[in-house]
Symmetry: C2
Subunit: 336 residues, 2 copies
């Protein structure tokens, strides 16, 4: 690989001058700048970011550790993150935790060694010693989507409580009473919050909350299927299943279809997270949509601020209910 030395020799200047040109320092004659640039072009020189980082103590790189790259929510999130990062001049090193704390820690460790300038983390579990240490050491860190209580770390997430309340009212208005949910794991803030919002909304609507209607999954397809199976095996199966994310919805759909059940006649379905293909199902799936793009962008911007040592606050956006037909339709709203 050609280095500044080669360029310097070719241009007949010192390495210092080459460096100055490369970092467009103002203190350099147009003529020499010209010569250096010519040498750079002729040699096809490409600056070595590794050496540069060693010297400047910055990599212009941020780590992104997501829960599950197969989850459409995280995919869309990653896309937004990547987009905003590019705009700000950062590269993304990605880690897919696969919802496993050990994998999450593996990536955090690797990213720390790589000396990323900052870290965007969607925690997959309660606080691990490594994460606690990372916070203590002061590495710029922002939690995304999920948060960890008791840690002074800015979080960018969406609040779905309002949308969940609206959903429950919608279900009640449709005459449903036996409403079940398959939520995420209680270890995750998103799992907990959605369950709490759900039970609170049920009570607010005067609907009964039964323990056996509260299933906990792990945000992956298999657990959605298993949860739906347990629910449908109940002596008194629910009218409605509210699934905690898109992947589990896929699993629940598999189970419902395998049993030959019809939606919403035999069992209604609603999903936290909206997916592009939900509109193509028959009936289209009622869902709660998060402002995913915005979440990703805001997180990157927050992290960039932290990297530049400016204080940043957490941001909470709001999710919204998208009513479609998978929970039934209001009387009188059908064809006359």
């Amino acid at each position: 690989m050609t280095s500044v030395k080669d360029v310097a020799r070719r241009a007949g200047v010192s390495v210092a001058t080459v460096s100055r040109v490369l970092n467009d320092s103002p203190t350099v004659t147009p003529a020499t700048r010209e010569r250096v640039l010519a040498a750079v072009a002729e040699l096809g020189y490409r600056r070595n970011a590794v050496a540069r980082s060693l010297r400047t103590d910055a990599t212009r790189t941020i780590g992104l550790v997501i829960g599950d790259i197969l989850n459409p929510f995280f995919t869309e999130l990653a896309r937004a993150v990547e987009d905003e990062a590019r705009t700000l001049g950062y590269s993304i090193v990605i880690g897919n935790a696969d919802e496993r704390p050990d994998r999450q820690d593996h990536y955090v460790r690797t990213l720390l060694e790589q000396r990323v300038d900052g870290l965007l983390l969607c925690p997959t579990a309660e606080i691990t010693p490594l994460v606690r240490g990372t916070v203590r050491d002061g590495l710029p860190l922002v939690f995304l989507d999920r948060t960890l209580p008791g840690l002074q770390v800015p979080t960018v997430r969406a609040d779905g409580a309002g949308a969940i309340a609206a959903l429950v009212r919608h279900l009640r208005d449709l005459g449903h009473e036996r409403i079940a949910s398959i939520s995420g794991p209680a270890l995750l803030s998103t799992g907990r919050e959605r369950t709490e919002a759900f039970t609170a909304a049920m009570r607010a609507c005067g609907l009964p909350v039964r323990d056996r209607y509260l299933e906990a999954g792990d945000f992956r397809a298999g657990s959605g299927q298993a949860g739906a199976a347990r629910l449908l095996d109940l002596p008194e199966p629910p009218d409605v299943i509210f699934v905690g994310d898109g992947l589990m919805a896929l699993g629940a759909l598999d189970e419902i279809r395998a049993r030959g059940l019809r939606i919403p006649h035999d069992v209604a379905l609603a999903c936290y997270d909206d997916l592009p293909w939900f509109t193509h199902l028959d009936p289209p799936v009622t869902a709660i949509a998060q402002p995913v793009q915005e979440l990703g962008r805001r997180a990157v911007r927050a992290l960039a601020e932290r990297i530049e040592d400016r204080p940043v606050a957490s941001v909470v956006l709001t999710a919204r209910l998208v009513v479609r037909r998978s929970c039934g339709e209001k009387e009188g709203s059908g064809p006359a």
Copy 2:
């Protein structure tokens, strides 16, 4: 940040010894190793991969430039790549080209500066000067999914010609004659190959190939919708639309639904690439499934070989047809 020096001081040894312990050199006394490890733990020392890379001229990092992170095909591919890379001890720096050659080049440039050990590229266009230069400079490079003719670069891809031929025969057996396709851009090998395989299969089946039934999209949802619209606006619209990838299928579905058309009665649909939710549509979508996981794994392994300077050959896996019901059903195969 604590460095080897700090560890050395703390352990009462030289930096060389610390380094030896860290790279578990055999020539070190258990006792001193113990002391060093203790110092490492006490100080919370984490080795600096940047400095290490500068010295060893290797980053244990590979670049992955994909066509479009929103495309489920690439998402699944990325997941497999990431998985295999972790197994082999590599980190992934990801770039989302968004199907734009300029973005592709942006990432290639960045990754070269970062000194990735190798590059996995899904080319978004014909050969760019940058890509040509990269090949010439000898950076370990493997093309994934798509290839670029005229370049000596190993490619890992799936051949869909057989599956496409099987699909066309399936369509013919079902009595379809006016078969249209919305393929990828002719600039991409995958676009070209799928179109060629399709027209060849049509001829082999004695079916007419009409130019106006040959639409070209760009592998994104919008172009699938636009292509479907043009096809359905034809004075003699096709019986079947064969869509070149999952994202365009989503767009085509949008258009079909917007027009209130029914599948397969009004127009049949088949898709290159299989998606998890295809089974939940009514009717389920007939698709061509690529061995995506295997593609990703093989690509990483090939790249790892190249990085270690071993010669590697291209690998061609085969896609397979998954018949479902979106193109109609064989007579007599329905309920008696």
